[in-house]
Amino acid sequence: MKKIVITVVGKDRVGIIAKTCNYLAENDINILDISQTIVDGYFNMMMVAEWDPGEKSFPVMQGELERVGAEIGVVIQTQLADIFDKMHRI
């Protein structure tokens, strides 16, 4: 299992979390943590999740999540979590 970070940025509206979580549930991606904040009037959400590299390949999952975002008018970015751990933890 690999830890991934999914960030969602866009105008706040009904169903952002629901749609994103739906996709994750359908793909067996377990959510470990969710938090959200408003920056400059924009909705910012971050999820830490566990992804099984044996299931769907990273670029496929990344692309599908981007499309989910496009459908509801937000930007969804998926990254391996190591980059944040490395940068902010000694």
């Binding site: 960030t7 470990l32 938090s35 971050m46 190591d82 980059i83 944040f84 940068m87």
Partner: protein, 454 residues
């Protein structure tokens, strides 16, 4: 657990402040490429490069996508070609054949630059070294992606002034051969003192003879991130300023370290070093000159610039060495003129001269970089400028370099457009007084007294 503020900070650095990994450079040794003639050697070299670096670009792109961090360049550095070709290359044309072969290899594997068309002649030149140096103008004008460098001095050996004299002429010839494109050939050629074996940055990258067969070196960057961070330290004391730079350099370097480890693991090639440099690009907000302004100067080049740069360079190193155990290459702030918008602006405003740039190179990596000078500058004057810069490196036990572009047909007041990452530059004046008699002396400048440490 990672928190949302940290995630937003990292992604803001990437999306708004131009944080990137500047280059993943694969060093490849050519010492095991043997053949009975130059054509055979070209085949061997081509085969080795295209085998070892087959997956370099694809792997770089995968890492880029998965971590969400741009990796701007994927490049290759080679054993200095003067050494690799010494056994079979009898003429300059033989060396040019190798240049064509490595250019083809660069196209095949998809890297944008391939370095190592180089010679190490800090104490003396072999026949092969001299052939390679004399072939540089043709090699650079007939290839697209090949980069060349010559190490003409070191603290241990002194400065090979015969090579310095020759390179003045070679620079002009390279400029002449590429005059249709604003003498761009010279932008792909660097002269060094104390050249490092593991530098991942072009145009001076080569794979030193002390290195393993294949190695991954990574160059990080992020002047925009440092600039943004020190905005918060406006008006504060030096301790606060230094702490801010150090912490930022640490964060930037950790990303480079992660990318280097991943690349090394996925390509099954040992990790060499991280080069923690602040390397500007012509893009807005990606400027070392802008950091100097933020520290408190009206323009780069104003009184105080050398001190501000010394401080910046030192803090970048202090933050960086904490982030990676293997730091090497050039490591420090780069001050190329044409690749940095604020440096260009400083030259245009009359704040920054060649002499001030020379002083600045005493305290930073690396040297006089991407500076356009009039095309009618004499070869001996170019050699004189090179000799001065080499002397700074030799005496101060640091790497120094010169990448001057004498632009044929252009003079002070004109602007030169190189395009892409190389940017544009105003042609700068060069001191008009002669050093002919000095440069025409034969031999070498002896090593300084402090080199005898045994």
């Amino acid at each position: 657990m990672i928190n949302i503020q940290e995630v937003l900070e990292t992604n803001r650095m990437i999306h708004e402040l131009n944080l990137d990994v500047r280059t993943i450079t694969m060093g490849i040794s050519l010492l095991d490429c043997n053949a009975s003639d130059a054509a055979g050697l070209c085949d061997k070299i081509y085969d080795k490069i295209t085998t070892r670096a087959r997956d370099l670009v694809r792997t770089g792109e995968e890492i880029e996508r998965e971590f969400g961090i741009p990796i701007v360049n994927k490049r290759i550095s080679l054993t200095p070609i003067a050494l690799a070709g010494a056994g079979v290359c009898r003429t300059e044309d033989d060396y040019v054949e190798i240049a064509r072969a490595i250019d083809r290899a660069a196209h095949t594997v998809g890297v944008n630059f391939i370095g190592g068309y180089s010679a190490l002649v800090s104490k003396g030149m072999t026949h092969a070294d001299e052939c390679l140096i004399r072939s540089i103008p043709m090699a650079l004008s007939e290839t697209e992606r090949v980069c060349s460098s010559v190490n003409v001095g070191s603290t241990k050996t002194g400065i090979n002034m015969d090579a310095v004299r020759l390179i003045g002429e070679i620079l002009l010839e390279t400029a002449e051969r590429t005059k249709e494109q604003d003498s761009i050939g010279c932008a792909k050629f660097v002269v060094f003192c104390n050249a490092p074996d593991d530098n991942p940055f072009m145009a001076g990258a080569f794979h030193g003879v002390t290195e393993a067969d294949t190695v991954i070196n990574v160059g990080v960057s992020g002047p925009g991130v440092v600039k943004k961070a020190i905005e918060a330290a406006r008006g504060k004391d030096f301790e606060t300023l230094c702490e801010t730079i150090k912490k930022t350099a640490f964060k930037i370097t950790r990303v480079g370290q992660l990318v280097a480890q991943e690349a090394s693991k996925r390509l099954h090639v040992p990790f060499g070093i991280i080069d923690l440099s602040l390397a500007p690009t012509p893009a807005r907000g990606d400027s070392v000159g802008e950091i100097l302004e933020e520290i408190g100067l009206e323009y780069a080049g104003a009184p105080g610039t050398t001190a501000a740069l010394a401080l910046l360079n030192d803090q970048v190193k202090k933050g960086g060495v904490m982030a990676s155990s293997y730091v090497g290459g050039l490591s420090g702030a780069f001050i190329p003129v044409s690749e940095d918008q604020r440096m260009i602006r400083a030259v245009e405003a009359g704040a920054l001269s060649l002499e001030k740039l020379e002083a600045m190179t005493c305290v930073c990596s690396v040297g006089l970089d991407m500076i356009a000078v009039p095309g009618n500058t004499k070869a001996s004057t170019l050699s004189g400028v090179i000799a001065d810069e080499m002397a700074l490196g030799m005496i101060n036990q640091k790497t120094t370099a010169v990448r001057l572009i004498p632009v044929i047909g252009k003079d002070v007041g004109d602007t030169v457009e190189f395009g892409g990452l190389l940017g544009y530059a105003p042609v700068m004046p060069v001191n008009p007084f002669s050093c002919d008699a000095f440069i025409s002396r034969k031999g070498r400048i002896p090593a300084p007294i402090h080199s005898f440490k045994n």
